[in-house]
Amino acid sequence: MLKTFISLLGMMSVIATANADSDCVDPSTVVGGVFEITSGSDQAVKSLTLLRQTPARVVYLMTTENMTRIYENYGGGRVAVTEYFDLESKGVEHEPSVDIAPNGWDTLYQLLPSAEAGRLQHVGEEQYRCLTVARYESHTSEPRLALSYLDEVQLPLALTSETAGTTLTWKLTELVTDTRILDETLTRVASYKTFDFADLGDHEDEVFFRNGEYLQYQRNVHAHGGHEH
């Protein structure tokens, strides 16, 4: 889904919608954000929390899917991801590849490829919790895009994409400044049993893989959007 999101950005421009908030935020304290994502004809709602551990390591908490992902930037376009299945306390590591983030690390780290931002039309600015919100719109009419972006923390405040009667929206519901959630997440997944993706075929003893639950997860992600790689 992220790939779709980014490709849409690349194709068009953006409309900005910004929320105002009287509580000011020090951008240097922001470690991530919580997003509400609405997509599909049924307008299903999912939650995603993006947490930055370092400039080369980000955590995605996909609470709707009960999954956690950690992306790592190896440089040279290569990104590795470990996908954790929280209900089963298991993880699958995918080796560094240019295919995981084909539009670059920025798409994972700041949800907006720098190269693409310049192709959007800047239509105005406003404030959100004392942060500057840059509003963009797409140049093309289909799909129609509107983006409000917090440049100082490099996160979108809101995104709306409309095409063929389908609307995709991302909405920032919370800026994360408390690092405890990051620490707790890292501690939690460190206790999981993790497998190299290339070794799945050698784990016939793992019911989780053998009976297709892993398969079902994959279907779930594809069916309801999410973050393809």
Partner: protein, 592 residues
């Protein structure tokens, strides 16, 4: 739980058989007399567990203390060991006299997952790459790629191998490799212990069921030793040479359950020397001389400051939670040893002056051969590693034992990507040729086999010269044959797995794990199925394609190769190596 296992009963039976032969050298089937251990009863004891090597000693009371009696009991008393020892003698008794000790060196190649269909398809693919074309009107019988030979196709001796594990009809790499290097079959997922072990139960791997390996015996005998793989060197196949583990997954300390006293596999690579010296008093061994493959994560601490390749900000490359850096420890053990982590360092290794080499070229498995050029630091190929290993090991005038694995044939199959599996098979054939070129057929036994097969099929009445990765085109036609559903199909297909995925020119087989699982038929009319990134259709949807249980091939040349014929239990491969090198006897002599 343990005593309820049928395997335990097998061992009891084996002990009973051995006990009987110790007394009377006879059995109830007429051939068991050759299966026992009279060799340990007298002066011929150092000949190893051979029942017909001359007169047995009278009572053994004054016999020298031999390795085979004290340190190999769990091997030689095992029913599988006994059975195949006897079977070989019944089949090859005349040959054995000439074979015993006739080899100076042994190289055991294992293509992980390289079943017969994989060999056939790779042979054809290699022929295509060579330009062996076929034209119905112009070609003579042997022009087409089907007539091509992989290097080991030209070996003079071949046979079949039964691959089952003691508790699994369709085996895995751990139990199968254990059979090859100890002479004893064991349970799936384990190695270094006989079938009384319970996978994942650390209390069941003990001195009472621990097994010695060919590599350990070679070390004791004074030979140089090496392990080379394109998988992690802590992965099941390479690890079974030097480690004992109740679970193949215990690759570093973070994988070992809390409370389990077992040493992790990576650590065992370093402790081999000390462990064998403790277990076999008098053994003068110096540790594995050449280790090459992937798996750096299991040797490094979970500390980003000690990364080799990964940017510090991206996290720690190492998985170890005990703070140990095994590369540093290895360097401390072997001050003159050379550590290489990339192709440049590998190329710089002087094979004449280097006595110890540890080349760990990737955080996890090394790259697929088709994808090797995309590696960040650069990796050597399997053939290059094989050549380098031989050039170092052959500096020992006593000889060497080298085990080489092509580990990623298996992984490409699991991902449902035949192109990747065939490319790695072809590279292994090149590695075998490199070994042939660098050794003498007069003194080096080269064995090539697989641990197990995969569910890859070669189907349809496809015409000669049709691309093996292509759509099936029948004789007399230039267009793909339609199945009863009206759609074309490929010659190669999998019975199970993730199924169809078209990734075009993608050379990383594992990229297929990003595709949705697609069972059954897809219209591939407009798809180039010969592209590296094409993943074949599969009938049964699984998250990963599986091993299969049919026999695999075994090929051999050099002294002792004549033993390789007919259909064999997988554990017989240990005996091939033992006879060719006279390994147990040499080890016995070395410790006395």
């Amino acid at each position: 739980m343990l005593i309820q296992k049928p395997a335990s009963l097998l061992k009891v039976l084996a002990l009973a058989v051995v006990g009987a032969t110790l007394v009377a050298c006879e059995g109830d089937d007429g051939s068991a007399g050759t299966q026992g251990l009279p060799g340990v009863q007298g002066p011929q004891g150092d000949q190893g567990p051979i029942g017909d090597q001359g007169p047995a000693g009278a009572d053994g009371e004054d016999a020298p203390v031999t390795l085979s009696r004290l340190q190999l009991l769990n091997n030689v008393n095992n029913a599988f060991y006994v059975n195949d020892e006897g079977r070989m003698q019944a089949m090859s008794s005349e040959d054995l006299k000439e074979v015993r000790g006739s080899a100076k060196n042994v190289i055991l190649f294992v293509g992980d997952g390289m079943g017969v269909s994989t060999v056939t398809a790779a042979r054809i693919r290699a022929g295509e790459i060579k330009g062996m074309a076929w034209d119905d009107a112009l070609s003579s019988d042997f022009d087409g790629p089907e007539s091509n030979d992989l290097s080991f196709d030209r070996f003079p001796f071949a046979g079949l191998v039964k691959v089952y594990n003691t508790n699994s009809q369709v085996p895995d790499s751990a139990g199968t490799m254990n059979a090859m290097v100890t002479g004893v079959k064991t349970d799936i997922g384990t190695f270094g212990f006989d079938q009384t072990v319970v996978r994942g139960d650390c209390t069941t791997g003990t001195d009472a069921n621990v097994l010695r390996t060919s590599l350990e015996l070679a070390e004791i005998a004074g030979l140089s030793t090496g392990v080379v793989s394109t998988a992690r060197v802590t992965h099941a196949t390479p690890a079974a040479n030097y480690a004992k583990s109740v679970d193949r997954n215990y690759e570093d300390n973070s994988d070992v359950p809390v409370g389990c006293g077992e040493e992790d596999i990576a650590s065992q690579l370093l402790s081999l020397e000390a462990r064998v010296k403790t277990a076999v008093p008098g053994a003068r061994i110096d540790g594995i001389d050449v280790v090459m493959g992937g798996g750096r994560r299991h040797f490094l601490p979970n500390d980003a400051t000690e990364n080799v390749e990964k940017p510090t900000a991206a996290g720690a490359e190492g998985d170890r939670t005990d703070g140990r850096n095994l590369f540093d420890e290895w360097s401390a053990l072997y001050a003159d040893g050379v550590i290489a982590h990339d192709k440049a360092a590998f190329d710089a290794v002087d094979t004449e002056s280097t006595s110890k080499l540890m080349g760990i070229f990737n955080e996890s498995h090394m790259q697929y051969e088709l994808d090797r050029n995309n590696d960040i630091l650069g990796e050597p190929s399997l053939s290059e590693m094989t050549a380098k290993a031989i050039q170092i090991l052959d500096n020992n005038p006593r000889g060497f034992y080298l085990q080489v694995e092509s580990g990623r044939i298996d992984h490409a199959h699991h991902a449902g990507n035949a192109a990747g599996a065939l490319a790695d098979t072809i590279e292994m054939a090149k590695a075998v040729q490199a070994a042939v070129n660098l050794t003498s057929v007069e003194n080096t036994l080269i064995i090539v086999t697989a641990d197990h097969s995969h569910v890859l099929t070669i189907g349809g009445y496809v015409k000669r010269g049709n691309p093996i990765l292509g759509k099936a085109i029948y004789a007399g036609s230039d267009t793909p044959q339609a199945a009863s559903d009206g759609m074309p199909f490929t010659t190669l297909a999998y019975t199970n797995g993730r199924g169809f995925c078209d990734l075009g020119a993608e050379t990383d087989s594992d990229a297929g794990y990003g595709c949705p699982i697609t069972s059954g038929r897809v219209d591939i009319s407009s798809i180039d199925t010969t592209a590296a990134g094409y993943h074949q259709e599969a009938i049964i949807p699984l998250s990963s394609e599986t091993h299969s249980g049919e026999d695999v091939g075994i090929y051999a040349q050099g002294p002792g190769a004549s033993l390789v014929r007919g259909t064999n239990e997988q554990n017989a491969i240990f005996h091939f190596v033992d006879y060719a090198l006279d390994l147990i006897a040499k080890a016995d002599q070395a410790v006395q």
